[in-house]
Symmetry: C2
Subunit: 207 residues, 2 copies
DNA sequence: AATTATTAATTGATCGATCAGTAAGGGAGG
DNA sequence: CCTCCCTTACTGATCGATCAATTAATAATT
């Protein structure tokens, strides 16, 4: 009574992962049942156990494969990044960050981390890894430009909050929470605000 | 077999609400069982139904009573706020915002909203109300100071993101997610960074 | 003041529903 | 006919919710 599938079973596993991720992000771990995931993926609940040994491991796998990499987005693909003008590089970084946060994948993982991070610290690690990979490139750059007097002396982590924070706040309140008042605040407006204001006084040589 | 309690039952209801809120914020709605809440409050699960008709309504009541008011914290208790110098008022507002976000209550509600907001949009309303109450005071002030040329012309919502965003990002990544790398970034450092940089170039008359 | 009735607060026992996970097997393709 | 992929059917555990029973405190009656 179990007809072999019409669509190639090669991507069945992937379908399940994607369905799972969508539901986990939407409703949270506990509120998402195996039956929900299976229905969304077009199979029955028992089929999940052909591909994954438990719901918990399905969850972890789905979240792990969510790792969209922030680094290549934030650090432009040029050779000598370390020597780039901050007036050029920082707006590029800014746009990279906003693109990253605008992705449904990023928003999904942010929601999952907030909701399930307490239960499973391994989930938080995924976020941390993203940050660290960027930090390892950007912080040396900032320190160098500070030493050169091109960027105001300041803890790089604080700089990072000042650039990344407004975007994170916007995405959370506007996109994730969906507060109506903020719906027509565009990413462009935020980038412009940060460039004109925060970056403007962060860069000490605005010639 | 159920003796009437020796300790005054006057605050029993409150005890339950507080226990519930703590657990809901920590583990989320579905992962928190009635038995958990009851144990934490020193009663049995059945007792919850003497005070609340359902788990769902216990949850809503707990969250509703969480409303800590942002407004009195952000807008200082002075008569003529509208005429205050932005150099004086904005740092005050900044400190108010950071105090607000540092409260366990605020962090709890932020976690709950992110985790359960999808399931129950009424929860998101609580956050929205907080924002609106502040917006109604701060936005007219900003517009007035912009007209006077004391503050750079900019959408007040963008200004709000630029001031509030870094704090929100810091609290989420440092306090809620607990990322080790950020543990020793103090609120003071962030306030200083925003004042020296973002506010510095937002205020067009830095005499 | 003593006795009795009533109400408030809580328990233990239990029920129905739901859910993660298991077992066994069937059909399609090689 | 064997292996892969998936189903139907089931189980044990858990959870929200209900309920009768029970007692402390309080009010009413004697």
């Amino acid at each position: 009574m179990a007809p072999r599938p019409k669509n190639p079973p090669a991507d069945r596993r992937q379908e399940i992962l994607e369905a799972a991720l969508r539901l986990f992000a939407q409703r949270g771990y506990n509120a998402t049942t195996n039956a929900d995931i299976a229905r969304e993926a077009g199979v029955t609940a028992a089929a999940l156990y052909y591909y994954f040994p438990s719901k918990e491991l399905l969850f972890r796998t789905a979240v792990s494969e969510l790792r969209s990499s922030l680094l290549p987005r934030v650090v432009p693909m040029v050779e000598r990044v370390m020597d780039m003008d901050p007036e050029i590089l920082l707006p590029k970084v800014l746009r990279g960050v906003i693109d990253f946060f605008s992705e449904p994948r990023t928003q999904a993982i942010l929601k999952i981390i907030m909701a399930e991070g307490q239960r499973d610290p391994a989930i938080v690690k995924i976020w941390e890894e993203q940050m660290v990979s960027v930090v390892e490139v950007i912080f040396p750059y900032l320190l160098r430009q500070m030493a050169r007097g091109r960027v105001k002396q300041m803890d790089p982590r604080v700089v990072s909050f000042m650039v990344q924070g407004p975007i994170m706040a916007a995405v959370i309140t506007r996109d994730i929470l969906g507060i109506p008042m903020l719906q027509d605040v565009t990413n462009e407006m935020i980038v412009q605000g940060i460039v004109e204001t925060t970056l403007a006084s962060l860069l000490t040589n605005p010639e």
